[in-house]
């Protein structure tokens, strides 16, 4: 039986696990934590699909393509939108408890940038309920989980550019392990946690899979495109779902006046908020007029979180908000079969770039993408695995990584990496955020290169072998630094404005020069970048 190793246990990982299993693979899912703790649980808004005649698949494609600002691949977007109704049906069949409308159909709401209400949802817990439903199905299917394993590196045979497996730190024991497989699916999530307290993401979204892929020689695409969600709580960056605006919520400035179309695409709304904050000093979300009944029923999480983190009750008060880093459009460059530039290495979900979101993702398209492409990826990975059984090639990666984990304990700790991590988050939010310019970006690049040099002077201060989260967080920090450089170099190279990437020193879109994907990779440790159509 062909073996498929899946790294990451969020929505994308679990969908591809079920799909590969269904197709006949032996599947192992490796999780950094526990499967139901992943970032997918935080998705609230919904999953886009055209279910009846009031809406059309052509419109779904058109909306997605328009929002992608020239970087969406029409064929792949069409694939996703055409498979959307089937994806919803599949989710419903495995038990996802979608909310219903008065006709007993799956209820839909309108999210920003959509020409019709087409986001199927389960209250404001769509991601949570999807993730848990998938987990339950995986248990039913007898899928094997290896939990609390932190990805260190991919094992790649250099001569043939073929992935052989991956190495992991077993967090509990502190031992380094390897898992070999015929095909590997990376489903490790995005890199939003780079923005620290200015991100809506889980602290776990540190881009470990992308960083490992880069070290293994894979190419990344469009890393500079990071979506900022317009409405995060001001002090904590905790997400207030777009459905709050979809349902009729207003954005108000410090003078309590509306200043923008609340339902424009996310990049437009986020920048309008950014500008308004600079001008009037504060921006609020107002959902008071929706009424207590509606808020308790459709937005219960929002009410609770605003009370805990901002001390305001949205039923009676305005919610102070700011834009925060939310979704990584950039990711591992993959082809139509979800395979990366390394043979046998597939990628799916937020860590991959399927070119379905382009320069700006539409709300409701990420859960859709992970279901449609997760199913596709599982099948394609198995096809590859059957055709190309993994050779039993000796490889030094396990020995190297065992030595690294041992050696990192002797790093000198003259510099506190937590402090550097906080600084990285701040300079990223301010200079690699909603509004960018050449000078700011280059200053950040200088700071990153300095931090790279300083890494040996940092290190974990906790010397425990057992469950050393200080060590894990240090390696995560190394991954962030690895990706930070690629993001900033991509952002410097793209001297134009498009979607989520806005350069105040080049505010126009320039298709002649930059109507292409930013491809970045490393050769012998040197970062390379190119624009490819």
């Amino acid at each position: 039986m062909a073996k498929v190793l899946i790294i990451g246990s969020g929505g994308a990982g679990l969908v591809s696990a079920l799909s590969a299993h269904e197709a006949g693979a032996e599947v192992v899912v490796v999780s950094k934590t526990l499967p139901t703790r992943s970032q997918t649980s935080m998705a609230q808004g919904g999953m886009n699909a055209v279910l009846d005649g009031d809406d059309s698949i052509a419109d779904h494609i058109e909306d997605t393509l328009r929002s992608s600002a020239g970087l969406g691949d029409e064929k792949r977007i069409a694939f996703m939108c055409e498979k959307a109704p089937e994806a919803i049906e599949w989710c419903n069949r495995i038990g996802l408890p979608f909310s219903r409308d008065e006709n007993g159909q799956i209820a839909r709401r309108r999210l920003g940038g959509a020409s019709a209400p087409r986001a199927c949802y389960a209250q404001d817990y769509t991601g949570l309920k999807l993730l848990h439903t998938l987990y339950d199905q995986c248990l039913s299917a007898g899928i094997v989980f290896e939990n609390e394993r932190f990805l260190l590196n991919l094992i790649v045979d250099e001569a043939t550019n073929r992935v052989l497996g991956a190495t992991f730190l077993h967090i509990e024991t502190g031992e380094v392990e390897e898992i070999r497989a015929d095909a590997v699916i990376m489903a490790s999530g995005g890199y939003g946690a780079l923005y620290g307290k200015h991100s809506t993401n889980s602290v776990q979204a540190t881009g470990d899979g992308l960083a490992a892929a880069v070290r293994a020689g894979a190419k990344l695409a469009d890393m500079e495109f990071i979506q900022f969600h317009p409405t995060a709580l001001k002090n904590s960056s905790i997400l207030i779902s777009e459905s709050a605006r979809g349902a009729g919520g207003y954005l108000l400035n410090a003078n309590k006046e509306r200043f923008t179309d609340e339902l424009a695409p996310r990049d437009v709304v986020a920048r309008a908020i950014h500008d308004e904050m600079a001008q009037s000093g504060a921006v609020y979300l107002d959902i008071r007029h929706l009424g207590e009944n509606f808020i308790d029923h459709e937005l219960p999480q929002e009410r609770k979180l605003a009370q805990i983190y901002e001390g305001v009750d949205p039923v009676h008060e305005l919610i102070p908000i700011k834009p925060a880093a939310h979704y990584s459009m950039g990711g591992i460059e993959v082809n139509e079969t979800c395979m990366s530039s390394i043979s046998g290495l597939f990628a799916v979900g937020e860590c991959a770039n399927h070119k379905t979101h382009g320069a700006n993702r539409l709300g409701g398209n990420s859960l859709l993408e992970l279901v449609v492409y997760g199913r596709h990826c599982g099948e394609e990975a198995l096809k590859y695995a059957l055709k190309h059984p993994v050779p039993d090639t000796p490889n030094l990666q396990l020995a190297k990584d065992t030595n690294f984990v041992r050696g990192v304990m002797y790093f000198t700790n003259q510099i506190d990496f937590y402090q550097k991590q906080e600084m990285l988050a701040n300079i990223f939010y301010n200079n690699v955020g909603l509004v960018r310019d050449d000078m700011g970006l280059k200053a950040v690049l200088g700071a990153i290169r300095q931090m790279q040099k300083e890494l040996p002077f940092m290190g974990p201060r906790d010397k425990s072998k057992v469950c050393n989260t200080n060590l894990v967080e240090f390696i995560e920090f190394g991954n962030k630094i690895e990706l930070a450089e690629m993001i900033v170099v991509s952002a410097i190279s793209r001297v134009e404005s498009r979607g989520a990437h806005y350069r105040i020193d080049a505010p126009q879109r320039n298709d002649m020069m930059f109507g292409a994907h930013t491809i970045t990779w490393k050769e012998d440790g040197v970062l390379c970048a190119d624009f490819v159509k």
Partner: protein, 231 residues
């Protein structure tokens, strides 16, 4: 503010001057600024990933929702093997959900009324934080008890208006399951999602009896129970 954290056998006291923050924010402050060896689990900061359940002054709380007070004592959740400090072995989630067959077996794509779907709304809000598991006193007597989170999940699928494959689930919860619960209700107030596993277990009991399963708690009234009448 003084916070006491149980670390293995030893309680350790930390002094932190932070006002009006969550316990998680406070622990993050300790880890990044004072003591990097302090070990705990966390993720979303918004009470939905289920990573950060602990006990504060003897009661289960999510660290990302709880606002600490001076002198609070923080311990790992109970009934699970402690790996380090506040981190426990989370394998009970997989083990007991498997034991209860807490998944959809056979589901339809028919239309369902909004009211019918709302029947399982609360139960499907579960974030698997295991607070209920920690509060449950049955585990001291029966470590194989399928327990509150898994039984709520079984009821979530049994009560799903679209579900038609409930027989083997109902069979799976007969032993070490619904009848082992003492209905003490300790699981109810500790759930951060407002779920009442005790009620769901009661519903499963009623359903079981309706399906013809014997009720072992009703061992009076002329049965052949080995325990018999005790007078």
């Amino acid at each position: 503010m003084e916070i006491i954290i149980q670390r293995g056998e030893v309680p350790q006291t930390y002094n932190v001057e932070l006002e009006n923050v969550t316990l998680l924010t406070l622990l993050n402050h300790i880890k990044t600024k004072i003591d990097p060896t302090l070990t705990y689990s966390h993720g979303c900061r918004s009470a939905v990933c289920g990573s950060c359940a602990v006990r504060v002054n003897g009661r289960e709380q999510l660290m990302c929702e709880y606002k600490p007070s001076d002198g609070d004592v923080v311990e790992p959740i109970r009934n699970a093997r402690v790996i380090r400090d506040l981190v426990v072995d989370g394998s009970m989630v997989e083990r007991f959900n498997r034991a209860g067959e807490a998944w959809s077996e056979k589901n339809s794509n028919e239309r369902v009324s909004a009211e019918a779907m709302e029947r399982i709304e609360t139960q499907s809000d579960c974030i698997l934080c295991a607070s209920c598991f920690s509060a449950c006193p049955v585990y001291t007597a029966n470590p194989d008890f399928i327990g509150p989170f898994a039984l709520t999940r079984v009821w979530r699928y049994v009560n799903d208006p679209r579900e038609s494959g409930i027989e083997s689930k109902m069979a799976a919860v007969q032993s070490n399951g619904i009848w082992d619960c003492t209905l003490c209700g300790a699981c109810v107030p500790v759930c951060p999602q407002g779920i009442a596993p005790k009620q769901d277990i009661t519903m499963l009991r009623t359903k079981s009896v309706m399906m013809g399963y014997p009720d072992p708690t009703m061992n009076f009234g002329g049965g052949f129970d080995l325990g018999g009448w005790d007078f």
